[in-house]
């Protein structure tokens, strides 16, 4: 029990710390964009950040199970391509197809990790070639199209409701439910101590496969979001999401060794990274500096976190 108590406390320290950082960032942000807190602005920002937030949630799911997903960018692009290619013939069917594809790629990763004795980093590395290739076959050139009504509703709000923000809240609630199920508990157990989990009767392989598949669903949703935001598909757009999703997860306190971390912290961290990127644009620096700042922020954030929570990893 005391372990659970301190665990919860630590998790909330992460959330509280990120929340505080977010408040500071928003204060600076409102200096450059005084309309940041208006509904219109919130809609635009949530539309812009939804893909990264969902991708980060996918990466966090895999990391919680003690893995890592380097194929995230490829799978995100695949879902985006499938959706963009099929969206004209019916949005719902296209979304289902895209989600199925993404979940299947995740499950394939999971099977290889669970049964084949290959480390996650290698499996997902090879998978990134594979799914990158599949994406190019589905959509060789950027294209496809998403019904303009949907694009408008997503980016500008629908009857005053910010759909992307709503989607993020819904997904978080869904995660909350998953988290309380047997599977959710097993996920943390397998990530925290695989042998212990196995010894206490958890089907660790099944849990791992499900975790990768669930991550695939999150990543698929991110891809659909990106397709709806931009109104089309692009096979090469996924790459930066791999780095940024890992960055957000680590920043949120999700451990590389699995079993430690909270999804709401991941959402906050992804939001933070998104806002920071926008803030850089406001400063009038050439967009060329963006990559430099992203890398630097990543190193600083993780170094600070590592030193602040040293006893946890050592």
């Amino acid at each position: 029990m005391p372990d659970r108590l301190t665990g919860a406390l630590r998790g909330n320290v992460d959330v509280a710390g990120l929340g505080a950082l977010l408040v500071v960032l928003l204060a600076v942000y409102s200096h450059y964009d005084s309309e940041v807190f208006t509904p219109a602005s919130i809609t635009i920002l949530s539309a812009q950040f939804l893909p990264l937030i969902l991708a980060a949630m996918g990466q966090s799911t895999v990391m919680l199970a003690g893995g890592i997903d380097l194929s995230l960018g490829s799978v995100l692009a695949l879902a985006m391509a499938v959706f963009a290619v099929r969206a004209e013939d019916g949005v719902v069917l296209a979304a289902v197809l895209a989600l199925l594809a993404a979940a299947a790629t995740g499950a394939a990763n999971g099977v290889l990790v669970a049964y084949a004795g290959l480390p996650p980093i290698i499996v997902t590395l090879a998978a990134s070639f594979l799914w990158g290739g599949v994406t190019l076959v589905v959509l060789p050139q950027p294209g496809g199209s998403v019904p303009s009504g949907l694009v408008k509703a997503y980016n500008n709000g629908w009857n005053g409701i910010a759909l992307p923000a709503l989607a993020i809240v819904l997904v978080l609630v869904l995660w909350k439910v998953v988290r309380t199920t047997r599977f959710g508990l097993s996920l943390y157990a397998v990530g925290g101590n695989e042998h212990g989990a196995y010894a206490s009767g958890i089907a660790t392989r099944k849990v791992k496969i499900s975790a990768y598949a669930l991550a695939g669903v999150f990543i698929g949703l991110a891809g659909i979001g990106l397709a709806v935001q931009t109104g089309s598909g692009d096979a090469t757009i996924g790459a930066p999401y791999t780095l940024n999703s890992i960055a957000a997860s680590v920043l949120a306190g999700v451990s590389f060794f699995g079993g430690v971390g909270q999804m709401r912290a991941t959402v906050l961290a992804a939001l933070l990274i998104g806002l920071l990127t926008n803030l850089l644009l406001f400063t009038g620096l050439s967009p060329f500096y963006q990559l430099i700042m992203q890398g630097a922020v990543l190193i600083v954030a993780i170094a600070v976190k590592t030193f602040a929570t040293r006893e946890r990893t050592d």
Partner: protein
Amino acid sequence: MTALPRAAAVPRVLRDNRAAWAFGVLIVTWIAAILFAKGFDSVSSVRYLVQTAAFLGIVAVGQTLVIMMSGIDLSVSGVVALSAVVCAQVASGSGGAAGIAAALLASVLVGVANAAGVTWLRVPPMVMTLATGTIVAGALLVYTDGSPKSAKVPLLASFANDRVAGVPLAFVLWIAITAVAAWLLHASRVGRYVFALGNGERASRASGVPLARTAFIAYGTCALLAGVSGLVLLGFTSTSSLTMGNPYQLLSIAAVVLGGTSILGGRGHVLGTVAGALLLTLLTALLAAWNVSEGVRQIVLGLLIIALLLAYARERRS
């Protein structure tokens, strides 16, 4: 290094020596290529293959050093481009020698930054090297304003294209680098440290293995070799581009792992990496010969890599 098995049963030898497996797969693939595809049976095709494999191979040798100590370097793509771009930029103003020196210096600096982050800031290698790679990519955009120069550096051009007694100089350079790396990794004290760290960081640090020094040598050498590869590539194409290193990020790791080195570190041989790089180049050439689209090529390459890994590069369950 794996100990010699007491009972010299053939299966045991093969199971314990995954670098030998890599060469076996390479030879089988090569024979299959000669039998089932056109144009793989001539001397000139072999020459071209070993020449182009050298670009990947040189990067992969450095990657082997880092992976062997259970690290990983995802910044090699950035460093390959950095080296070529810096050399082209400097060479067009101050001459080839200055360009080469500046390029190698810049490359090593990235390696030093990687090692510093991994050892002192305790950032996980994957995140640290992804971050430095991103920073390098951004810095190159700023440095070149988005449009890097092309440059003809005679020395580099001859390294990339000339032959000694019919053997491409790039291949000779690669083999020389591999020989030095093999000594460093398998015969020197640093190499023993690398293997020790790969087998268990905490235990080896407790028994006096200098983590920092070893990391600086490994990451520094890896970045230096990525820089060398960038220079040879510049000599080969006479142009530099911001994305010219991109294929090497994943392929260098794939070459190391296909060469039988454990991604978790501590097990393997740098010679296996040579086989891995040749194998990947051969497969790519084979797919190109069959004239399939870029997408299908990637799919087949991905599937082949997974299949080969399943065949002989599985980790033992602890």
